[in-house]
Amino acid sequence: MQTLNQALFIFFAVLAVASAILMVTRRNIVHGAVFLITTLLSTAGIFLLLQAEFLFIVQVILYVGGIMVLFVFVIMLVNLDVSMRQVQFNRQWFVAGALALVLAGQFLFAIWVGRGALRLPAMASEISPKNTEAVADALFSHYMLPFEIASILLLVAMIGAVVMAKRRAG
């Protein structure tokens, strides 16, 4: 069971990182979107390894089945052919990339210094049957106010999107 988990982790991790790299480097946006979907699905697999089954479902339904469909929809509405022939990276790409790597180096250093200090507790033999209930309990009792704020955020975003679309029509 341990080796199976290990193998699954390596599989999902490699898949996620490889498709993330491909996503950032592809010229064709649709291919990029497909690679991002692959990354998101492998992340969902990692959530499952971490016994967060409800989040696995949220990731698949909301992220992959909702948000990414929106992305693909918009990609198909805008004209691909022109932007595919243009230069893909901006002029400051060298500076920007170097800065990103420096940032990554800092994080890497922090994790490296503290490595081995944090360990996952012994895994239960199977996924806890109460995960969905536990998340719902926390969401609707302790995190009630943030939950309501999040719903207002969604409402505002919805109105914003509608306003944006209206202006285009008028």
Binding site: E53, V64, M76
Partner: protein, 440 residues
């Protein structure tokens, strides 16, 4: 058998067997649903339908499959080859994967997940990528328009259908397919009767999600040739086809489990025994039904025009007789085996009844226009579903506070939802008429 298989892989043997059975049977089943569709359509249009291949066209699906597999496999010149190859696979894989959580009987289930229902919804919502990417990769305007329509339609109607399902989840208090059926047994009523509006909303939503008429805009022949499938042919086309019919069975299976009592037989709480035996009256029903079909086929056999058709008709009769024998024999088997076999029978019977309703609707209603489709989804179904969910919540409080029965407590909810539905329909009618008059 136990000592032949190492104990470490023992728990995986049965699920793998089930998976193989489902993957093997599904294409055949899809083929026969197509035959059923053509026969029902013919019947409703006062025709005979396929009659040539086998008696009453019973071998038509096999002929169709052979034809499809032998066709030339065309990839358009300007198509994105990789995506063109990949998209039908996504569609069919997601359609088949969703079966892993479907409970066909109390024992016949690949995996009883705690989040079973959500898993099926999540996986089947990924099937949209097959359609969208296939439409895009074809590099054709018809395909792209079909794909875009499909994405918009699916996202809109998934919301409504999901809200329809939530009303049942509130009543069942679980996401596991098994527990939902068990809840219907405990409460003594199929949820389709206690929340009829949830069922109605899911029925409409599921038709739209599977791109069936009257919501088949993504592949509307008269407008878009064949929508996202325009550039596909041969084997790839048949993969899309298989995915569409597999999805139909999936939504029928969800509806059966959530609204029609899953594998429970009608009157599951009625335990009157045949005098002198341990057999219940109602358990004899499946065997008698299939026996009736067998006798009818035997009666028809001599009237068939050609000899080979007579032979095949007798074979059909023998097949039905065999099924009847299994169903009757199960009555004397241990209860677990009996439940498994009869559960599968009732489940399949309900699934086919639901699919029949699909076909009926398809041949009754004209196709919607795209703006009508969107208006129906967003301005009628979603508000209605929200009211229904709130009403079910109120009903549950009534049940807990005043100890009302499971049916009585939902009557006010249903009436309130009906009122809102009439209000919404009335409110919507002048807008629709004005828009039609303005030529929109």
């Amino acid at each position: 058998m136990g000592h032949l298989i190492p104990p470490s892989i023992m728990p995986f043997v049965l699920p793998v067997l089930y998976a193989v059975v489902i993957v093997a049977v599904l294409p055949l089943l899809a083929g026969y649903i197509v035959l059923m569709e053509r026969k029902v359509m013919a019947d409703m249009q006062a025709r005979l339908g396929p009659m040539r291949v086998g008696p009453h066209g019973l071998l038509q699906p096999i002929a169709d499959a052979v034809k499809l597999l032998l066709k030339e496999d065309i990839i358009p010149d300007k198509a994105d080859r990789l995506m063109f190859w990949f998209a039908p696979l996504v569609s069919v894989t997601m359609a088949l994967l969703a079966y892993s959580a479907l409970a066909i009987g109390p024992a016949f289930q690949i995996a009883d997940l705690n989040i079973g229902l959500l898993f099926i919804l999540a996986i089947s919502s990924l099937g949209i990528y097959g359609i969208v990417l296939g439409g895009w990769a074809s590099n054709s305007h018809y395909s792209l328009l079909g794909a875009l329509r499909s994405a918009a339609q699916l996202v809109s109607y998934e919301t409504a259908a999901g809200l329809g399902l939530i009303s049942v989840l509130l009543l069942a208090g679980s996401l596991s397919m098994k527990d939902i059926v068990q809840a219907q047994l405990d409460q003594g009523v199929w949820f389709g009767f206690s929340v009829p509006f949830g069922f109605f909303i899911y029925l409409v939503g599921s038709i739209a999600e599977t791109n069936r008429a009257p919501f088949d805009l993504p592949e509307a022949e008269s407008e878009l040739v064949a929508g996202y499938m325009t550039e596909y042919s041969g084997f790839r086309w048949s993969l899309y086809f298989l995915a569409e019919y597999a999805n139909m069975i999936i939504v029928a299976g969800i509806a059966t489990t959530l609204f029609l009592g899953g594998w429970l037989r009608p009157g599951a709480r009625y335990h009157e025994h045949i005098p002198g035996t341990g057999i219940e009256w109602l358990d004899a029903l499946p065997a008698l039904l299939t026996l009736g079909v067998a006798l009818y086929s035997l009666k028809l056999a001599p009237t068939q025009p050609v000899k080979i058709q007579k032979i095949v008709m007798v074979l059909v009769a023998v097949l039905c007789l065999g099924v009847a024998c299994v169903l009757a024999g199960a009555l004397f088997a241990p209860p677990a085996v009996m439940q498994g076999i009869h559960g599968a029978f009732w489940f399949m019977a309900k699934v086919f009844a639901y699919i029949y309703a699909f076909l009926w609707i398809r041949f009754t209603f004209p196709r919607y226009r795209f703006d009508q489709l969107m208006r129906l989804g967003w301005r009628f179904l979603i508000p209605l579903a929200l009211v229904n969910v709130i009403g079910v919540g109120v009903a549950i409080v009534l049940r807990q506070q005043f100890a009302w029965g499971p049916i009585v407590s939902l009557i006010p909810t249903t009436l309130a939802t009906l009122g809102v539905a009439m209000l919404l329909a009335k409110d919507d009618a002048p807008v629709a008429e004005a828009q039609t008059a303005a030529g929109e």
